[in-house]
Symmetry: none
């Protein structure tokens, strides 16, 4: 974790850097907008803490240019006086949060934690098996980089097999999972789904293998 601090007041900058260090975040500090931006050109940061009142440039322009270089890095603006207009403009330019001076270090830390929690919040929902990828949220399947078109039943069966991660699954237990109580389909329908899935999977390195008398499992060829 590394933060960029652009702030002309040395004393405040020191406090901020100390606070960051306390959270185990490394930081670079520059007292001028231009210096900060050229640092952003050469290294990647996880956070920008920006003072809007800089001696050399308008803070909002610094923000704008920074966002062009590192659009996904969250930005926390720290300033003494911010007009409503500047706040609106800043938020629209991509600032993520504001802190009005003077502030307590506890609040700075809480805001930084909140920023990171938000950005880190993208949990992985993909299951992969060979060339096959499955997104648990959208229930979409991909083969290499092609979307794989499946019917609802096929999706359910394949999801079960993927979840089992290469272990055998009996027809009975597949049926138990994909049929609900009032559905009263024959167990043999499972064979049909497997057949249709195999056809669709035939062009890749993932196959459904039969363990006679036991069930099916996913294998890589």
């Amino acid at each position: 974790m590394k933060a960029l601090v652009i702030e002309d007041n040395e004393e405040i900058a020191d406090c901020i850097q100390q606070s960051l260090q306390h959270m185990n975040i490394t930081s670079d500090h520059f007292p001028l907008g231009k210096l900060g931006l050229s640092a952003a050109d050469v290294s990647q940061y996880n956070l920008l803490i920006l003072d809007l009142n800089l001696p050399d440039m308008d803070g909002l322009s610094v923000l704008e240019r920074f966002k062009k270089i590192q659009p996904d890095t969250p930005v926390l603006i720290v300033s003494a006086r911010i007009t409503v207009e500047a706040r609106v403009k800043g938020l629209d330019l991509g600032a993520d949060d504001y802190l009005i001076k003077p502030f307590q270090l506890a609040e700075l830390e809480a805001r930084v934690r909140a920023l990171f929690r938000r950005t880190a919040n993208e949990r992985c929902t993909q299951i992969k098996f060979g060339h096959l990828a499955f997104n648990q949220n959208t229930k979409e399947y991909w083969l290499k980089d092609q979307p794989l078109e499946l019917t609802p039943r096929e999706r359910s069966v394949l999801e079960l097999l993927l979840r089992k991660n290469g272990r055998v699954m009996s027809k009975k237990s597949i049926a138990d999972h994909i049929f609900n109580f009032d559905d009263e389909a024959d167990i043999s329908s499972i064979e049909i789904y497997i057949h249709r899935l195999r056809k669709k999977l035939s062009k890749c390195n993932v196959a459904i293998t039969t363990k006679r008398g036991l069930g099916y499992l996913l294998t890589q060829t």
Copy 2:
């Protein structure tokens, strides 16, 4: 887009809801923490606007419980007096922003926009998809260089699909987003909006594709 507003002052709540509607955000309003939380149990929201001073519960407890139900939904706290301790605690509980009463509606809107930009990962106000462009601030749509005239419902649906950026969205979740509590339209209305949108999009390289059993998504032809 759908917001939950928990605020006991009817007048302020009205203003907020009006403001949200102006941004084409559907909202449910409840004057008590308990009511709001039970709503959160049953429907998914994209935003919580929470007053800390509620007659029935401590606002921070409402926040805490809400975050357990919908951890990824951003929260904007609106309150008259907030101690530094409460701010820090709120941020640690997962609040994303604060607004001190009294506030200007312009600032509320800017903050809401900023929150959405963050969660939707979108740093600029324009979303583009093929020939289709959408301005998040003005809610205007353009096809190539022609403005695209849509009805409010159509705008909401298309905005959702755009925000999903080419990923599938089920009819159910589309309905959850664009209808509020007391609206009780049938889920099949979604099919009609899709149909009307398709007609209006027919002259360009953007299409709404059906994933049978899953939902709809935007594609480029």
